[in-house]
């Protein structure tokens, strides 16, 4: 009994961390910058395809592809941000939605054209496969890796955004553009970098997620709902909030599916609704 509870907690936590890695970038672009970036999963997909291409085409090891996935998604997103997205920072939410969802559809078609519509094979190195047996529990190695990775990313982000000069500049630029400009902060650059950071994290999350959720051109749309739920429940602009929300949703989803499989799939939405009724602006919402 105890082992099954612990097993569910572990798997749920790992699943939550997967959700967190996929959505943490969005809590930067949507959460901090207030830009309704529905194209978030497009950048995650770019990361995934970069990783798969390097692994299968060039024979790179999986771990070495991760930084490239981050950089590629970040670089492409800056091109988008400079040419299109920055024009809409002050536009209405609807305009932002329309532009970014359009980007999603285009990206799905372009990916299908370049890579075809089939699932991309992902093969992890042996040391990330299989499972460990600890005190009667079976712990998947990749899940442990995800958890450690997510904790490291959280720590780095919180430190980078809360405790560095650069983080302060970004937060200032986002909170009050005119004031920030007046103080001599290069707001355009801060925005571009913040956007690149968010999208780079998406690319990283995409590359990490494909082993568990697969990769085909519909990736850009398929997981959008989950990342939006995480960011909304966590509270806009809060990295810690996204972390807590992802953890909560992952565990409640897993527990629901294990103990009440008949209604388990609905539980994640029930949790979302009750959390948002309790705190409409999210668990750690500031605005």
């Amino acid at each position: 009994m105890i082992t099954s509870v612990l097993g569910v907690l572990f798997d749920g936590f790992a699943y939550g961390m997967l959700l967190f890695l996929l959505s943490v970038g969005l809590s930067v672009t949507l959460g901090m910058m207030n830009f309704v970036n529905l194209a978030h999963c497009t950048f995650a997909m770019i990361g995934g395809y970069v990783s798969v291409t390097l692994m299968n085409g060039a024979g790179w090891p999986f771990l070495a592809t991760l930084p490239i996935a981050f950089l590629a998604a970040a670089a492409i997103s800056v091109a988008f941000e400079r040419t299109m997205f920055h024009r809409l920072y002050r536009a209405s939410d609807l305009d932002q939605c329309l532009l970014t969802i359009g980007v999603v559809f285009v990206s799905v078609a372009v990916t299908a054209y370049l890579y075809g519509t089939s699932q991309q094979p992902v093969s992890l190195p042996n040391y990330l496969r299989g499972s460990l047996h600890v005190a009667g529990l079976t712990l998947g190695v990749y899940r442990i890796f995800l958890i450690v990775f997510a904790l490291a990313v959280t720590a780095a982000l919180v430190w980078g955004l809360e405790f560095t000069r650069f983080g302060a500049q970004i937060r200032a630029a986002v909170d009050n553009q005119r004031m920030a400009r007046g103080l001599g902060i290069n707001v355009d650059a801060a925005f571009a970098i913040a956007f690149a950071l968010g999208s780079g994290l998406a690319g990283l999350g995409g590359a990490l997620a494909i082993d568990m959720v697969g990769l085909d051109p519909s990736f850009a749309l398929a997981y959008l709902v989950y990342v939006l739920i995480v960011v909304a429940v966590g509270g806009l602009g809060s990295i810690g909030g996204s972390f807590a929300a992802a953890m909560l949703l992952g565990i409640s989803d897993m527990a629901g599916k294990y103990y009440f499989p008949a209604i388990g799939s609905f539980l994640i939405y029930l949790v979302m609704i009750s959390l948002l009724m309790w705190r409409p602006s999210g668990i750690f919402g500031r605005r």
Binding site: D11, R129, G214
Partner: protein, 391 residues
């Protein structure tokens, strides 16, 4: 006014031209998903069609075959119905074909029935579809056909207590019901059943629950996409021993791309299906080689559905001498038998559905590559659902 007259005149000329051309052609409207989530199955069916036409020419019984492709873009019965109507009424299609998804095929069946047009279901696999139009024939398989015999097979091969885990939508429910019927009728016991949401990402909770029920067989029905690979990997992660617990499912569980992602985690999975590129016959080896030369990938069940669908159309047109009347075509196709890359197949003269061999395969490593190796088969399987409802 003059411009309007010229416009009208040129339209009339155009109309005359198309109808004159129509004398020597048979138009086939192909309605399926060329874009969206189901674009890959769509393109595989289309590849099957293309390869058949490349090998057999585009002229049958003195008539030129012309394809008119329409994209239904995924699960969209209303769109499939409208496109089927358009292709018949506006484009003058004589035959409608394709139909990758059950809801779309069901919606289009009405059109076929009312317009009395020959319809070839090249994929959609729910039993009931075929009863909705007397002018329809199916060249794929049915979920009942494959999974009921799998249930029977499981009991005969030592499984006594089974757990079922299926995707929570129509075909998944069909698979669950068919397996349970075959298994229980043979004498087996079901120790638990669960349905997982179609958009599920992580399977550890469902599979852990299945494991904790202590079955000696787990039956899984999964649509294609990323889920088979996720399931295969999770089974190994959870330490479910495939020597003690047979993991069984319909062919999608171990299709090519899934096996590539699973790696060795796929070894030992057992599936029942009507076709695999690894099927050992001369005809299939040639088919696979030609397919690879043309499209740089292996054919799958979708491809063979499209390929045999075209075969049915060609042979039927030969029999009617190019007559495209719905009644003439459907009468000609009843009872037709041929050797397909999948093995022998036949169109049931009563139900117009496909009768074929169901193969039981196990994933093994052959020359360093994971493949579905056939080790048992059940010949001449009819759709049991229709046999049961016909009584």
């Amino acid at each position: 006014m003059r411009r309007a007259m010229t416009g009208f005149a040129s339209f009339a000329v155009l109309l005359a031209a198309t109808s004159a051309q129509a004398q020597g052609t048979v138009k086939i409207g192909v309605v399926m998903s060329y874009s969206g989530q189901f674009a890959d199955p769509g393109s595989q069916i289309d590849n099957g069609i293309k390869l058949y036409m490349k090998q057999n020419g585009d002229t049958v019984a003195g008539k030129k075959i012309e394809l008119i492709r329409k994209d239904s873009g995924g699960i969209a019965p209303d769109v499939a119905k409208r496109l089927s109507q358009e292709v018949i009424v506006r484009d003058g299609a004589d035959i409608i074909a394709g139909y990758d998804l059950t809801p779309n095929a069901l919606a289009a069946a009405d059109v076929s029935a009312q317009a009395k047009k020959f319809m070839v279901d090249m994929n959609a696999a729910t039993s009931v579809i075929i009863t909705k139009s007397p002018y329809m024939v199916r060249t794929s398989f049915t979920v009942w056909q494959v999974n009921e015999v799998l249930g029977t097979w499981a009991f005969k091969n030592g499984v006594r207590k089974a757990y079922t885990l299926v995707a929570d939508f129509g075909p998944g429910h069909d698979g669950e019901a068919a397996f349970i019927k075959g298994f229980k009728d043979a004498g087996g016991e079901i120790v638990g059943s669960a349905r997982y949401p179609v958009a599920n990402l992580d399977f550890s909770a469902f599979l852990q629950r299945a494991k904790d029920a202590n079955p000696d067989g787990i039956y899984i029905w999964v649509p294609g996409g990323p889920q088979p690979a996720a399931i295969g990997k999770t089974i190994v992660e959870l330490g479910i021993d495939k020597n003690k617990v047979k993991i069984m499912g319909q062919g999608e569980l171990t299709q090519d791309d899934a096996l590539k992602s699973m790696g060795d985690a796929g070894l030992g999975l057992i599936t029942a299906f009507h076709y695999d590129a690894n099927h050992q016959s001369d005809l299939n080896r040639k088919f696979v080689a030609a397919y690879n030369a043309e499209f740089k990938r292996n054919p799958d069940m979708f491809s063979v559905g499209g390929y045999d669908g075209m075969h049915a159309i060609y042979e039927t047109l030969k029999k009617t001498g190019g007559n495209t009347d719905g009644t003439a075509l459907i009468n000609a196709v009843k009872g037709m038998k041929w050797e397909s890359p999948r093995g022998p197949m036949m169109i049931d003269p009563q139900t117009r559905d496909v009768i074929e061999t169901v193969y039981i395969r196990r994933v093994e490593k052959v020359n360093g590559r994971l493949v579905n190796v056939e080790f048992d088969k059940i010949e001449n399987v009819k759709d049991p659902w229709q046999a049961a409802t016909a009584k």
